[in-house]
């Protein structure tokens, strides 16, 4: 999940009796599965909440380029290099769609960047983990994109039109990303002893951080109820995490990899696996800025932005000259 903790304003979900007529009509449309479009009336809380969620998602796409682009220059074959470049370029494209979707809610891309660079806006904790070997690129595609898809497929049905439509395009590309990750893992897991070791090591390091991607446990997730009532969140964190574990365990088995959880066991009664929860202290530490790569990731974004200033200003200056020239000519 790329938007792990989206804070909602207010004190919780209003009952129908407490809603204004406008709010009540709005909620009725949501409940009838109608899409809300940019220029239509919406509660201020819905707008703010969506801006937070979509921009958090957009920032995650942008920052998410970094751990993977870390291996583009070292990709082991020309084909792998091309595939990885195409994939990371897709992530930048996803960022672009999502920033555009958020802009329809009345915030500019520059403002969102400012929030990212100042540390005010969050992005997914997963991207604060390092990619240390080539197998990590496989693990990121397989697990991280796999977890993202788990969350994003339902978001294609989210109540806000531009967001839902962006998700349709994004999901198509994400499933290709996950397949390429799994394909790398297959090659590694059936390769030399050194490659197998890399594959297991990557799996060991990315398993729990991937489970964290769905956000805190439902019992600790204080912001979910309103988001679910507004249909900007469709499933609970624990539902999605369970689904992810149940999907991934057989894939790991197929690859010949061991899930790094001694307590993992199939529970016939619930029709799913029992598994160890991730270390939530670590999750909050990473979210709070103390993950292995938080500083580097944010610094890379800030540097790119600051060092690109002359470039953006130069293009604006040229456009302004053209405008003036056009006025003179006219």
């Amino acid at each position: 999940m790329y938007a792990q903790i989206v804070k909602t304003d207010g004190t919780g979900v209003k009952s129908r009796e407490d809603m204004t007529p406008e709010e009540s009509a709005f909620q009725q449309r949501i409940d009838a599965d109608q899409k809300i479009e940019p220029k239509e009336w919406m509660p201020e809380g819905y707008r703010k909440n969506l801006i937070r969620q979509i921009s958090q998602h957009a920032h995650s796409e942008l920052v998410g380029q970094l751990p993977e682009s870390n291996w583009i220059t070292r990709a082991p074959t020309l084909e792998r290099k091309a595939i990885l470049l195409a994939k990371v370029q897709d992530e930048a494209g996803h960022g672009l769609y999502l920033y555009c979707a958020a802009e329809t809610l009345g915030i500019s891309r520059d403002e969102m960047f400012e929030q990212l660079h100042s540390g005010k806006a969050k992005y997914s904790s997963i991207f604060n983990y390092p990619t240390l070997t080539w197998a990590d690129i496989g693990a990121v595609g397989w697990l991280v994109d796999g977890a993202a898809i788990m969350n994003q497929v339902p978001l294609q049905r989210t109540s806000y039109g531009p967001y839902a439509r962006a998700m349709v395009r994004i999901c198509k590309e994400e499933s290709f990303h996950q397949r390429q990750g799994f394909d790398i893992m297959m090659k590694m897991a059936s390769g030399s002893d050194a490659q197998k070791r890399m594959a297991q090591d990557a799996f060991d390091r990315f398993w729990y951080p991937s489970l964290m991607m769905f956000g805190p446990s439902d019992k600790d997730s204080v912001h979910s109820a309103q988001s679910m009532a507004w249909r900007i969140k469709i499933n609970t964190n624990d539902e999605l995490r369970q689904k992810f574990v149940d999907q991934t365990v057989p894939q790991a088995k197929y690859l010949g990899l061991t899930v790094p959880d001694e307590n993992l066991i199939w529970n016939e009664e619930k029709g799913g696996h029992d598994f160890t929860e991730p270390d939530w202290d670590e999750f909050y530490a990473v979210l709070g800025g103390n993950g292995p790569c938080n500083k580097e990731r944010l610094q890379a974004r800030v540097t790119a932005w600051n060092e690109g200033e002359w470039f953006r200003d130069g293009l604006l200056a040229n456009a302004a000259k053209k405008c003036t020239a056009g006025e003179v000519a006219a």
């Binding site: 082991p76 930048a92 390769g191 690109g308 002359w310 130069g314 200056a317 040229n318 456009a319």
Partner: protein, 256 residues
């Protein structure tokens, strides 16, 4: 001048030049992925890098066939040392800032396109096919890099300063691109590759016109730095290869 190469080794060398140019420039451009000055530029430069890797695969695959020693495109990319690379020195220059990156791209694209256009008429069908496919991509590369150096040259004082200093820094590396090689006179007489002076003339025309629009001054020095086409590179290429070839070198024979 007596050619120092046989016909097939001349062709092999030429194909390495084409492939290595694409590979080394793709590597440099791909270092911007995730670090570009604007999201749209990040996407564009990654896309160009991707085109160039695709072209690398085609040129090096054909080079391997012409050589006839059973080497694949990957073998040639990942298992040669620097002195066997035939790319231009221009393309291994470090990125420094986005201005230098764009200027390097522009100076190369302005040569790459007429060269490829000439190659679409090659008497070697395989070369003509690769050129045909590449021309479509490189037409866009040149359009973009020309547009950007014009807008940045004629932009703010700071963008103008950066573009002029990038041009000054790279100018001495352009001569190598425009010089005719003594690979094999038969390559030209048999119309396998276009005559170098025609490509050079197209380059001069395009570059002169674009620099004028960009309000940039063409440096006067005609000093030429050369060596890349003969395998005598700058110190930078060794590091490019150390990074690029790491996995193939550290785990020989592994399948990825």
């Amino acid at each position: 001048m007596v050619s120092k190469h046989t016909a097939s080794s001349g062709l092999f060398e030429f194909l390495l030049q084409m492939g290595d140019n694409c590979l080394v420039l793709a590597h440099r451009n791909s270092q911007w992925c995730g670090h570009g000055p604007a999201l749209e530029e990040d996407i564009a430069i990654s896309n160009i890098s991707l085109d160039l890797i695709g072209q690398t695969q085609l040129w090096l695959e054909l080079a391997g066939e012409v050589e006839g020693a059973g080497r694949s495109a990957d073998d040639l990319a990942y298992l040669r040392d620097a002195f066997d690379f035939r790319n231009l020195l221009l393309l291994e220059r470090p990125n420094e800032d986005f201005g230098l990156t764009l200027m390097r791209q522009f100076l190369f694209d302005a040569w790459h396109l007429p060269m490829l256009k000439g190659l679409t008429q090659s008497s070697n069908k395989r070369i003509a096919e690769i050129a045909e496919k590449s021309v479509k991509e490189v037409t866009y590369h040149l359009e973009r890099s020309t547009d950007l150096i014009i807008r940045l040259g004629d932009g703010s004082a700071e963008s103008h300063r950066r573009m002029q200093s990038s041009l000054d820094e790279l100018w001495s590396y352009t001569g190598e691109m425009l010089e005719s090689d003594d690979l094999d006179p038969a390559l030209i007489s048999e119309c396998v590759v276009p005559a170098g002076d025609k490509v050079a003339e197209a380059w001069r025309q395009h570059v002169t016109a674009a620099l004028k629009l960009a309000t940039l001054i063409k440096p006067e020095s005609d000093f030429v730095r050369r060596g890349g086409k003969n395998g005598i590179h700058s110190e930078h290429l060794g590091f490019v290869l150390a990074e690029m070839q790491f996995l193939q070198r550290a785990y020989p024979g592994a399948v990825w």
